[in-house]
Symmetry: C2
Subunit: 486 residues, 2 copies
C-alpha cells in the first residue's frame, strides 16, 4: 500500500530558511520543542497521538526527481542547494511522549535535536500530524468519558475534513477510547474494529419497512441492529423491528447481538419508550443505539435525563472536534549547540507571558502520588538534572513564580515522559498497535481524577519547572530586558 510522499508537505518558508542556512553554512545542531498551549474544549488534559505517522514521515523524507524539478521551477532555489536536497535525509535525534499518554500544556510532546536545516524542514508536517491526531484523540476521550463505559462508535468519515482527517481521525478516536469506527479503510490500515449496519436508503429501497428489516435480519442475523426512524420510530419502526425479532426467535435463530438504532428525534424520550416496548416484548437484552449530532455534552445531558441508550454513534462533532477544531500546537527553537557540545538556551519573548517559551534542552518528569497512582504534577527540567524521589522536592509555576509546591520525599514516584524515537537519523522505537495504544490510554486516563476530566472548570494539573530551569529562564528574561533598555 503506497501513500503520497509528504516531503514537500511543508511551508515554503521552511525551505527558503533551509537554503538560507545552507548558504550561510549554518550546520549548527538545534533543539526544537513541539508543544501546545491550551487544552481543547477548555478541558483539563489532552491525549497524545500521531507519533506513528510522524515516524513514517521522518523515515520517508527524501526529495525525488519530480520534487527537485518542481522546486527548481520556482526560481527561488539554486543548484547547489538542490544538489544538497537530492541527498537529503534526516540525521538527527527525536524524543517523544508515547501515543495514548495524558499530556498537559507547555510540555514538549516531541523534541527534535538535529542540524538546523533538518529541524526546520520537518516543523510543518510534525505539527500538522500532531495537531490533528492529539485533537481527535482528546475529543474522543471526552466523549467516551461522558458515555461512562457504554460503547462509542466513530461514525464521522463523511463529515471529516478530507480522507486523511476521516482515516487518521478514526485512528485517533480509537486511541481516545472509541470501540470502533465505521471507516473500513481505517479498519484495514490500523487493525481496529469496524462496525455498521444500514442506512435509511436500505429501508426506502424496499416496498415497506417490515420487508426491509426482515431481509436485513435474514442476511445478518448475528449482528442485527435495525434503524427504526425512517418513517416513525414508535408507530412504525419499533413495531416492525419487534415483529422481526419475534419471528427470528420463533424460527430458532439465536438473538446474540441485536437491537435498534435511532438517528433522529428526542433521544431521551424515545429511548425510554423504546426500552419499554422491547422489554414488554421480551427483548430485555436488545441494544439501543443512538446517533444524530452527538457530542460529550449531549451524551452527558441524555444520561442525566435517564436516557437508556447503551451504544453511541458519534459523527461530525467528534471527527472535526467541532467546538474546538484546532489543537494549536507550536514548534519553537529552544537551544543551539555550540562547538563544545553545550546547548545554549534560546527564548522567544512575547508580550503575552504565557507565550514566552521555556529555553534549553529539556525533558519532562511525571510525578505520581505513591499511594493513589494519580498524577501530582509534571516537571519540566533540563536534560541531565537528577532527582531522588526519596528527597523533598520544590517545583515552580513557570508563569507565576510565587507559586511553589513542596513534595515530601518518599511520597511520590517519577517517570520520564520523553522517550528516544530517532537516534542519529535511525528509528529506534517501535510503535505499539492502535489497540495496544488504546489500552495504554485507558490506563493513562486512570491517572487523573474526575476533577480533571469534568467538562466545566476542570482542575488544572500543574506543569512546573525545576529550580535550575526556572532560574535559567529568569536570567534570560532579565538579560533580554536589559538589552532592550539599553
Amino acid at each position: 500500500m503506497s501513500t503520497l510522499n509528504l516531503t514537500l508537505m511543508t511551508d515554503l518558508y521552511e525551505m527558503t530558511m533551509m537554503q538560507g542556512y545552507f548558504k550561510t553554512q549554518n550546520h549548527e545542531v538545534v533543539v526544537f520543542d513541539a508543544f501546545y498551549r491550551n487544552n481543547p474544549c477548555d478541558g483539563g488534559y489532552a491525549i497524545c497521538a500521531g507519533l506513528d505517522q510522524v515516524i513514517e514521515y521522518i523515515k520517508d523524507l527524501h526529495f525525488d526527481e519530480n520534487d527537485l524539478a518542481y522546486l527548481k521551477s520556482l526560481n527561488i532555489f539554486d543548484d547547489d542547494f538542490l544538489e544538497y536536497l537530492a541527498n537529503f535525509h534526516f540525521s538527527g535525534d527525536i524524543y517523544a511522549i508515547p501515543e495514548g499518554t495524558v499530556i498537559f500544556p507547555r510540555e514538549p510532546i516531541i523534541k527534535v535535536v538535529a542540524p538546523i536545516m533538518e529541524a526546520q524542514l520537518v516543523e510543518t508536517a510534525i505539527l500538522n500530524i500532531l495537531n490533528h491526531q492529539c485533537l481527535i484523540a482528546t475529543k474522543s476521550a471526552r466523549v467516551c468519558y461522558a458515555a461512562k463505559g457504554d460503547g462509542v462508535m466513530e461514525f464521522g468519515l463523511r463529515r471529516a475534513q478530507g480522507p486523511d482527517a476521516g482515516t487518521y481521525g478514526a485512528r485517533a478516536a480509537v486511541i481516545g477510547g472509541c470501540t470502533g469506527t465505521s471507516n473500513v479503510l481505517a479498519g484495514q490500515l490500523f487493525d481496529v474494529p469496524v462496525k455498521g449496519t444500514h442506512a435509511h436508503s436500505w429501508i426506502m429501497s424496499f416496498p415497506d419497512e417490515y420487508t426491509a428489516f426482515k431481509k436485513y435480519a435474514e442476511l445478518y442475523p448475528s449482528a442485527c441492529i435495525l434503524l427504526v426512524d425512517t418513517y416513525d420510530t414508535l408507530k412504525s419502526g419499533m413495531p416492525n423491528a419487534i415483529r422481526v425479532f419475534k419471528e427470528m426467535r420463533e424460527a430458532g435463530i439465536p438473538l446474540t447481538f441485536y437491537g435498534i438504532r435511532m438517528d433522529s428525534g428526542d433521544l431521551a424520550y424515545l429511548s425510554k419508550k423504546v426500552r419499554k416496548m422491547l422489554d414488554e416484548a421480551g427483548f430485555p437484552d436488545a441494544v439501543i443505539s443512538a446517533s444524530n449530532d452527538l457530542d460529550e455534552y449531549l451524551i452527558e445531558s441524555l444520561k442525566l435525563q435517564g436516557a437508556v441508550i447503551t451504544s453511541w454513534g458519534v459523527g461530525t462533532n467528534l471527527i472535526t472536534a467541532k467546538d474546538n477544531p484546532a489543537f494549536g500546537g507550536v514548534y519553537k527553537l529552544a537551544a543551539i549547540r555550540d562547538e563544545n557540545g553545550t546547548f545554549i538556551p534560546k527564548i522567544k519573548l512575547s508580550e503575552n507571558t504565557e507565550k514566552v517559551t521555556n529555553p534549553g534542552n529539556k525533558t519532562i518528569y511525571r510525578i505520581y502520588d505513591k499511594n493513589t497512582g494519580k498524577i501530582r504534577a509534571d516537571l519540566i527540567c533540563l536534560v541531565g538534572e537528577v532527582f531522588d524521589p526519596e528527597e523533598d522536592m520544590t517545583i515552580f509555576d513557570p508563569n507565576e513564580p510565587w507559586k511553589k509546591t513542596r513534595l515530601a520525599g518518599g511520597s511520590y514516584t517519577l517517570r520520564e515522559l520523553l522517550v528516544p524515537v530517532f537516534k542519529d537519523g535511525k528509528c529506534i522505537y517501535e510503535s505499539p498497535s492502535v489497540m495496544e495504544i488504546q489500552e495504554i490510554c485507558n490506563k493513562e486516563k486512570d491517572t487523573i481524577w474526575d476533577e480533571t476530566k469534568r467538562f466545566v472548570n476542570p482542575h488544572e494539573i500543574h506543569v512546573d519547572l525545576s529550580k535550575k530551569l526556572y532560574d535559567l529562564k529568569n536570567d534570560l528574561l532579565n538579560e533580554l530586558h536589559n538589552l532592550q533598555e539599553d
Copy 2:
C-alpha cells in the same frame, strides 16, 4: 505520484447494504442526490469544490487483493459477493455542478444515477470530499471578500486536520480566492502559487535581528518580506528592517517586492505606526503583511479601524473553517428506475420540514436577471421539463407553498447547473486547472449582490421548485401521510 486507493474509504454499512442488494438480486438503477442544508457560517451562499477529487476517486474505484482479503477477514462477506467485488467498477452516470460555482442549500451538487450497489458504495467518499472542499472554498471566499481585493495567503497547513486537509484545503482556499498557499505540496500537485519568507526561528538563530534581516535580504533581495515582531515591532524590528532596506537602496539593489510582516500585537495600531515609519524613511511601496489568528470578521474589523495592511496571511481559522468546521452535506435516495425506464420518485420524511427531501430525477436551472447578470433564483425541476425564458414563470418555495415568485418573460435567462461528468462509467468531463477554477469562481461571486455576501443576516437567494416537482412532492407527502393514518 501515487496516492492511497480510497475504495475502502467508505462506511462499513455501505458494504453490508451492498451485499444485501447483491444477495436480494437488486440491480435497480437509482438516483442519489448529494446536497447540503445550511450555508456555512450563517452566510448567504457556498462555493462548490472537490469535483476533481471525486472524479479521481470514481475512476480509481477497485478492490485489490489486499482489500478483498481484508474484507474476507471480517467474516461478514460471502465469497460470491467478494467475487463480485473483485470485478467491481463504476458503471453509472454522474452529474455535477462545476467547481467554483456559487451554490445554495438543497440543490443537488452531485447526482449519481447508477445500480444501487454502486451508488451506495460511493456515498461516503463523495460526501467526505465535497463536505471538506466546499467548506474551505466557501470560507476562503468569505475571507477574501473581507479583504476587499488585498491578497490573502493560505497559511494553515500546520493546523489543518491532517495532510489531506492541509493540501486539498489549500486547493479549495485558492479556488475560493486566495492568491496562494504556503503549502509546497499543494503548489506541486495543483500548480498554484506558493509563498513564504521566514519564521521567528530564523531571527533567533542569528546573534541579532539586524544580522538576520541583512542575511535574508542578501539571499532573497527580490522577495524581501521581513518578520519584525520577534523582539519588539516598533523598537527593534522596524528600525532594523528600515536599516536593511536603506542599505539595499544604497547598494543599488532594486526594491521590487519588499516589506514587513507582523504576526502578533494590535495589528490596527501597529500597521498605522509601521506605515508611517516606512513612508517617512522613503519606502511608500513597502508591503505590510499581517498574520495571527485572522478570519473574515477580524479582517473586516481591522479594515474598519483603518488598518493599513495590504496582504493577509490566514491560517487556522481558514484551513479548519474554525467557527463552522463541518459542511453538513448529505446524500439521499431520490428515485428508483423501474423496468420501463421510468424514475419512480422517493421521498425521505422527517419531523423537521426542512429535512424532507425533494423526490425524483431532478436538475437545476439558475435564473439570471437579464439586465444585471445577477442570480434571481435557482429552480429545481424534474429532468425533461422545458422552460422558455420568453414566457412568464412561477416558482414555488419548497417549504412554504404560499411563497410563489412570478418572473416576467424576457426578463431572465436560464442556465442548467448540473453537467454530465460520467456516462456509463466513463468520465466525459475534463476539470479546468485550479487557477482556471479560481477565475470561474471570481466571476461566479460577481453574480451575487453584496447583500448576499455580507456576514450578518445575508439576503437569501431562493431555491425554488417547478410546479411539476412541487405537485409531485405534495402528492407523495399526502400519500405517505394517508398511509400512516391508516
